[in-house]
């Protein structure tokens, strides 16, 4: 229920409906709609490179959203998210190549299949918690990676599997400019779905499991159900993201689904804000742009003393890895609630401007 135009100076909400509304004010809803309309013009304005970055942000943002359900909302730890992302990519490619299913249906189907696999690996989650679960998902990561290397019928083994380009009603959406709209549509649908999930009964149950699982159980929440459910949901979004990734690149090779990718997914949600839907997208944008900006920086610094000292050209890959780790540590120590929290602080500051104190 968007009733006001501006954010009120205090908390005057009197109903649950007002408290759980997606957009607190009419302005924020309109801003979102205008933002989405504006971004629809992106392919006509931006160059290919910027567009490919936006597509990456969208794809990884969907997968990171899944991870945020399991880590941020349910309080479980998953270190094997990239393996599910990879599983989704291979499944979608396999379904379209082997059974000739149109890519349009393959992507959600890949999500469903990956969710099933996620439920299998989520079964330990029913009994385990905290670090035991972290270790179980670590094992899942290695087992799935081994499976990718082994199952040649499914992944093509050492030869990368090819994936069909996305098409709808016989109209092929090939190339960044057209594929951008596919990703955009999926991002909007997935983020709306999760935003509404958190407002629902099930979403509240997940948060209750996170906040105090014993109290949640006493209040009648089925712990086993919600823990495995959150794993399944996380795997679903990872699968959808992976499928989009597969049809974007049109090849799926065995690389890029390792533990380092899982760490990047975790970094995305930590930087964005654990348990924040919009924060996930901010964190993803940050993590996609971080290596790119390091690239620009290294180009800008070419032949400068810093370049000679660090040997940027040869060592940029290691420096990038280090930067990821250091950024995670800095955020955990100084800003544990992530960019979403910073954004809320900025909004809160402007709410009472110029009389903030």
């Amino acid at each position: 229920m968007a009733t006001q135009t501006l954010i009120p100076a205090g908390d005057f909400r009197t109903t649950y409906a007002a408290d759980t509304t997606v957009f607190p004010t009419r302005t924020s809803r309109n801003a979102m709609i205008v933002g989405i309309i504006l971004i629809c013009f992106a392919p006509h304005v931006l160059n290919e490179y910027t567009l490919s970055l936006l597509i990456q942000i969208g794809i990884f943002g969907i997968a990171a959203l899944g991870l945020n359900i399991v880590v941020g909302f349910t309080g479980q730890i998953s270190i094997g998210h990239a393996a599910f992302f990879g599983f989704g990519a291979f499944t979608s490619a396999y379904l379209s190549n082997r059974f000739g299913i149109p890519v349009f249906f393959c992507i959600p189907l890949a999500g469903v299949v990956t969710a099933a696999v996620g439920l299998i690996f989520g079964l330990p989650a029913a009994r385990l918690k905290g670090l035991y679960l972290a270790i179980a998902t670590l094992a899942a990561q290695y087992i799935l990676l081994d499976f990718f290397a082994r199952a040649e019928w499914f992944t093509g083994g050492s030869v990368p599997a090819s994936a069909e380009p996305f098409s709808i009603f016989g109209y092929s959406l090939r190339g960044d400019k057209k594929y951008f709209y596919v990703v955009l549509a999926y991002v909007i649908v997935c983020y709306l779905l999760v935003t509404n999930l958190i407002r629902s009964r099930d979403g509240r149950a997940l948060v209750a499991v996170r906040d105090h699982y014993l109290s949640a159980e006493i209040m009648g929440i089925n712990l086993t159900k919600y823990r495995t459910l959150s794993f399944g949901l996380a795997a679903f979004f990872a699968g959808v993201g992976g499928a989009l990734y597969a049809h974007y690149n049109q090849v799926v090779s065995n690389e890029g689904f390792g533990i380092d990718r899982s760490i990047i997914f975790l970094a995305m949600i930590i930087i964005g804000g654990i348990g924040s839907v919009m924060g996930t997208l901010m964190g993803t944008a940050f993590m996609v742009l971080l290596p790119e900006s390091m690239e620009w920086l290294s180009v800008a610094l070419r032949d400068s003393p810093i370049d000679q000292f660090l040997g940027l050209k040869n060592n940029i890959a290691f420096l990038r890895e280090m930067a990821i780790g250091i950024i995670i540590i800095i955020f955990l120590v100084f800003e544990p609630d992530g960019l979403a929290h910073r954004w809320r602080r900025i909004k809160a500051y402007w709410k009472l401007y110029p009389f903030s104190h």
């Binding site: 670090l131 081994d146 654990i274 290691f318 280090m322 995670i328």
Partner: protein, 297 residues
């Protein structure tokens, strides 16, 4: 059935297993004392090995000098990690603490690749004789040394915990931090000391592996193998970690034997411990000797 190969592999398994045991022991030490799951254990191994290699090759320091210098360095390094990075994380949710150690492992492994490259570097020869004949089996001297060093470290650790005053303080802290503090134990210094000892012990294991196989970024794989070992033994049992390490080492090599003789799946050696890990977590998540976590409301 190829008995010779089986025995050879089982001996390998025992040697590698004791090393796993040592690393798992230092992993459990940190967990027990500070409740931190250290995902950077493998990188501690790696750093120790690289530092020792660097001293030995670049500065031509003899081994009997280079090794103690490495250990002193790692001792200080462990304290530094705890004080600078993990002390601010005390009381944070478990996911944050885990993420910090994961991030540390990323930083360290990238740093090591940057400083020392990605290629395998052979370690300077430490022993003059290559092989020793024991009961008709050709055993490499380095293997014997590895076994001896591992056993010595286990005994040393047992002595430290059972008989030394500081070990007692550590056990008290692991048992109950508040009570330990009220009895005059500095929990801060116990935490730092746990990291220091763990880093030192890992570095010894790292140098041993480096002497056997050379140094490369792949050394940090030991840090991942620690999880099956520590989970099997029970996350908070030092003795269990040792036993778990040996079992995982044997299992790995036995899987390799089955694979090469009968199954021909390939790569089973690498992946068998993780299947074992999942199975253990399903049936006995607290491991063989771990204490079952009972919660009261």
């Amino acid at each position: 059935m190829n008995t010779q190969l089986l025995i050879q592999l089982l001996v390998n398994g025992l040697v590698v297993g004791t090393l796993y045991g040592v690393v798992a022991m230092s992993f459990v030490l940190i967990y027990k004392a500070t409740q931190v799951v250290n995902f950077a254990q493998g990188e501690l191994l790696l750093i120790g090995a690289w530092v020792c290699w660097w001293l030995l090759t670049k500065y031509q320091v003899p081994f009997y000098l280079g090794m103690p210098i490495t250990l002193v360095f790692m001792f200080l390094f462990g304290i530094a990690i705890q004080v600078v990075i993990l002390r601010p994380m005390v009381g944070e949710p478990i996911i944050s603490v885990i993420m910090v150690t994961i991030a540390l492992s990323t930083v360290f492994s990238a740093l090591m690749k940057w400083m020392f490259g990605v290629n395998l570097q052979p370690f300077p020869r430490v022993f003059t004789t290559q092989n020793v004949n024991i009961l008709g089996l050709q055993v490499q001297t380095v293997y014997l040394m590895s076994l001896a060093v591992s056993l010595a470290m286990m005994v040393g650790m047992a002595w430290f915990f059972r008989l030394s005053k500081y070990g007692l303080a550590m056990r008290a802290t692991a048992f109950n931090q508040q009570v330990a503090q009220s009895l005059g134990i500095s929990v801060k210094s116990v935490f730092a000391m746990a990291w220091a000892i763990s880093a030192t012990v890992s570095a010894v294991a790292g140098v041993v592996v480096a002497v056997v196989n050379g140094v490369s970024a792949g050394l940090s794989a030991y840090g991942v193998k620690v999880f099956p070992a520590a989970i099997l033994g029970g996350l908070d049992s030092v003795g269990g970690a040792v036993l778990g390490g040996i079992i995982i080492g044997l299992l790995e090599n036995f899987a390799h034997f089955l694979d090469s003789e009968y199954l021909h799946w390939g790569n089973l050696y690498e992946i068998a411990p993780f299947y074992a890990l999942i199975i253990i977590l399903m049936i006995k998540p607290y491991g063989l000797f771990g204490t079952k976590d009972i919660e009261r409301v």
